[in-house]
Structure formats: structure tokens, C-alpha cells
């Protein structure tokens, strides 16, 4: 009973918090009365116009495409390397320092070096994003692999599961929470890096547009584009990640 009530109240509380945020914004904008903080409705009008001209969907689409490609490469490569390092101690000892170095190289440095070495091309932009995200995924998945239940792996060996069955039914379900953590932190990190990549060396995408708006001090457009992007990521969280989480956790008490 208590649980059902809480479940009903949570969506209400979430909507209320969004409304409170908008209210606070409205009041602040009215008090400051400055073009540096436009009213929510002005931003909504700019958003709608940018949608009608097709400008926002185009640039948003370009950035999302970069996000999907670089995120896909970083996650799949990162999971594979993470599992490998987690399972082989010698390999891990050898590459551990590399990981620490790559984890600590500032994103801006990687982006500039990629553009200098490979030119202002699409592949250099994607590579820069992948290099920034990869070590993060590797470390998270490696930690997950280290905590794999050896008893279950022995059981799988004894009952001759074979490599594919062992991976799908024994290893992957244990890695799932770690991969989800890498996915969430990855999405948040990658799209911020992509904006910098676009700002520095591409002629389309959100980052490029934001750069233009910055030069014109067009805060309303900056906010409209930001809200559009954050909404897309939020939709992905609600429509893809949460159901995935729920499905994979259904066995828990």
C-alpha cells in the first residue's frame, strides 16, 4: 500500500520540481529584466522558430549522429578492453599506466592534437571523442570484471557452458550494472566533449551553432538549443535506459 502510494507520488513530485524550476527562472528573469536571462516564453518562441526553419533539427541531428557513432565505438571497444584487462592480470599490469595517463589527459588537448595530426575532418572529431571516453569505460568495466563471481564461472565450466553461453548467461548479467554506469556517465561526458569538438573544428552541429550564438550574445538561442539537447538525452534515459534497467533487475527481491 505504502509502496503503491509512493509510486503514484513520485511522478507528481517530478513534474512539480520542473514547474518550480520554471517558476524560479520566470521570477529571476522578471527581476533582472536583462537580455542575458530571457523569459522562459521567449526561449520557447526561439525554440519553436528554430524548429520551423529546420535549423535546430538539422544541427541537433548532426550532433546526435556524432554522439551515437562515438558512443557506440567507445562503449563496444571499452567493454572488450575492460573485460580483457579484468581477466588477464599481466595485461592489466602492463596497460594500467596507459589508462591512468589517458584518463588524465585533458579533453581539450586530445581534441587539438587530433585536429592537428589528422586535419579538421569528421574522423578526427570522432576519434577525439572516443579517446576521451574510452579510458572511462575501460576502467568501469575492468572493475566489474574483477568482481565476477568465480563460483559461478566454475559452475559454468563444470557444466560445459562453452564461451558464448558463459558470456551471455554468467558474465554479462554481472557486468550489466557496470556497463549501465559507464553508459550514463558516458552520455553526460560525451555530449559535452562533442560540443567542444564541434566548436573548435566543425562547420555544423550544436557546438558550432552555440559558438555563433555566443558571438552574437544570443542567450535565448543558446538556452533553446541546450533545452532541446538535454530533452533528447532525458528521453533516451526514460525510454531506453530505465526500461533496460528494470528488465535486467527483475530477478532481485
Amino acid at each position: 500500500m505504502q509502496k503503491t502510494l509512493t509510486r503514484k507520488l513520485i511522478p507528481g513530485a517530478a513534474s512539480l520540481s520542473v514547474l518550480a524550476f520554471l517558476g524560479l527562472w520566470q521570477i529571476l528573469a522578471m527581476v533582472l529584466h536583462s537580455s542575458n536571462l530571457p523569459l522562459p516564453e521567449s526561449v520557447a518562441v526561439v525554440f519553436w522558430q528554430a524548429c520551423l526553419t529546420g535549423e535546430l533539427p538539422y544541427h541537433l541531428g548532426v550532433t546526435l549522429l556524432r554522439l551515437v557513432v562515438s558512443f557506440g565505438i567507445a562503449m563496444s571497444l571499452g567493454c572488450a578492453i575492460g573485460i580483457l584487462l579484468g581477466r588477464h592480470k599481466k595485461l592489466d599490469a602492463f596497460f594500467d599506466n596507459w589508462l591512468v595517463i589517458f584518463l588524465n589527459v585533458p579533453a581539450l588537448v586530445t581534441i587539438i592534437l587530433c585536429y592537428v595530426w589528422f586535419g579538421l575532418v569528421e574522423s578526427a572529431a570522432i576519434l577525439a571523442v572516443v579517446i576521451n571516453k574510452l579510458p572511462n569505460v575501460v576502467v568501469t568495466v575492468r572493475e566489474g570484471t574483477r568482481t565476477l563471481d568465480q563460483d559461478l564461472l566454475e559452475m559454468a565450466r563444470c557444466y560445459r557452458f562453452g564461451k558464448r553461453k558463459t558470456f551471455v548467461h554468467v558474465i554479462w548479467p554481472q557486468l550489466h550494472p557496470f556497463v549501465m554506469a559507464a553508459t550514463r556517465s558516458g552520455l553526460a561526458l560525451i555530449w559535452k566533449i562533442i560540443l567542444v569538438v564541434e566548436l573548435l573544428g566543425r562547420s555544423n552541429g550544436m557546438g558550432y551553432q552555440l559558438h555563433l550564438f555566443f558571438q552574437m550574445f544570443d542567450v535565448a538561442s543558446i538556452l533553446a538549443y541546450t533545452i532541446a539537447f538535454v530533452s533528447v538525452i532525458q528521453l533516451f534515459e526514460v525510454l531506453v535506459l530505465k526500461p533496460l534497467d528494470k528488465k535486467s533487475q527483475r530477478w532481485r527481491r
Binding site: 565450466r157 563444470c158 548467461h169 554468467v170 548479467p173 530477478w251 532481485r252
Partner: protein
């Protein structure tokens, strides 16, 4: 039903940090006849689980040989671990289906669940089962693959007496229907007498066979606890060395 020949010259654990090298098993020889139920009885830490892991192929770092059957290059081993080791993210039925070849007749599994009185729980996740039920699932899994040899590592430990007795009786029902060769590890002499055709008593550090004794009570008389107790007393009187191994 398969013959099992165990011949381990030596199993040594290498020195690690402060612990020095430790010889767990030395000059160990044991034969199991087809369909025989053999109980290994020995003190804690004497190497019984190590022995089962070697037979199961989970530990290959030893000198000696294990042969299960004659024609099998890699025998089918059913292993009931001390901890049931079920996949918590798969239902009870899925846990068993995973060890079976694809396309196995579902009725085959239904029968096993029926014998172990688990039909009602087959679609539950393991976390929702009691320990006794989880152990029964692990027993079904081991029998389901129709093993050449069945290894059981104290499968009734930490169960209360009535539950242990119930699971033991269900195990015997299943074994009578499918009389595989069994190697069963236990601390409990009464339990060993109730189950085994032969009792093998083991010493520790290194593990060696001390006595190998046939249980002479007829199987249908073992439900009578006084018969089991009388046999136990006789054993302790006739083989005083056993007392130190329990």
C-alpha cells in the same frame, strides 16, 4: 553408470605470502564401481573439496590421473556444490535448461521437478527460494545432465535436521530411479551411513584413505534411525581411529 578410478600422486598448494608450501593430497587411490554411492568422511580442510574439484576438471594442477568410464574423452560430471551456485538472474527452470542440450523434451524436466517436489517453484527466481529448495534445484541440475559421475560436496550442510532429512530422502528417491555413480562428501557419519554403499574415511595434511568400509545395512532398513545409530556405534567400536576424523 560408470567406473571411476582416482589416482592422485600429489596435490600441492604453492607457498603464498606467509603460508608455506602445503601438500593437500598424497598417494591417494580410490575406485568407484558403476552405480556405487560412496561417501567421503573426513575432518574440515582435509582436502575433500580439492579432490572433487580435481575430478570435476576445475583444478588441473596436480600429479596423477583421473579416469571416468572407458570411452569418454571428457566425461559428464554432475557437481552439487556446497553453495548451490544457481544463476540468480535466471528462473529455477532456466537454470536447469541451461545445462541441457537445446531441444530437450520439457517433459523430462517436469519429471525431475516432480520427483524433487519443486514443480510449484520452477518459475521463481533463486533468491526467493529457501536454502533447502535451492539445494534441491542444484541436485536436479546435477541429475539432469545424466552424468557419468555425480559429485556432491556436503549438500545438506547448514540445513536444519528435518529439512536435511527431507532433501536426503528426495535425493535417494531420485538416485533409485537414476542410479549414477556418486561421490558424496560429508562430516556427518549418520548421514553417510544412511546414504552410502561404502564409507571412505580420510586423514588430513596430506589427505589419505584411512579406512574403506562397506555399509552392510539393507537400504530399506536405513529409514529406521536406530539401525543407523547401531551401525555407527559398531563402527566407532571396531575402528577407534575414525573418532579422530569426525
Amino acid at each position: 553408470m560408470t567406473t571411476v578410478e582416482i589416482n592422485i600422486d600429489s596435490k600441492t598448494y604453492p607457498a603464498k605470502s606467509r603460508a608455506s608450501e602445503h601438500q593437500a593430497i598424497a598417494e591417494f587411490k580410490l575406485s568407484l564401481n558403476p552405480g556405487e554411492f560412496v561417501c567421503l568422511v573426513g575432518p574440515s580442510g582435509c582436502g575433500k573439496t580439492t579432490l572433487l574439484n580435481i575430478i570435476a576438471g576445475l583444478d588441473n594442477d596436480y600429479q596423477g590421473s583421473i579416469s571416468v568410464g572407458q570411452q569418454h574423452a571428457s566425461p559428464k560430471i554432475g557437481y552439487v556444490f556446497q553453495n548451490p551456485r544457481l544463476l540468480p538472474w535466471r528462473t529455477v527452470r532456466e537454470n536447469i535448461e541451461l545445462v541441457l542440450p537445446e531441444g530437450t523434451d520439457p517433459a523430462y524436466l517436469d519429471t525431475l521437478f516432480d520427483v524433487m517436489q519443486l514443480t510449484h517453484a520452477q518459475h521463481a527466481y533463486p533468491e526467493r527460494l529457501s536454502l533447502g529448495m535451492s539445494r534441491r534445484v542444484a541436485i536436479i541440475r546435477a541429475f539432469a545432465i545424466n552424468p557419468d559421475v555425480l559429485l556432491m560436496d556436503e549438500p545438506f550442510v547448514s540445513l536444519d535436521a528435518p529439512t536435511a532429512r527431507q532433501v536426503r530422502e528426495l535425493l535417494m528417491t531420485l538416485w533409485r530411479q537414476r542410479p549414477h555413480t556418486v561421490l558424496f562428501v560429508t562430516h556427518d557419519l549418520r548421514e553417510a551411513i544412511a546414504l552410502a554403499d561404502r564409507l571412505v574415511f580420510l586423514s588430513s595434511a596430506p589427505m589419505q584413505v584411512v579406512s574403506d568400509i562397506a555399509v552392510t545395512i539393507a537400504r530399506n532398513e536405513r529409514e529406521d534411525e536406530s539401525q543407523v545409530e547401531a551401525f555407527r556405534q559398531r563402527l566407532l567400536n571396531d575402528y577407534p581411529a575414525i573418532k579422530t576424523l569426525l
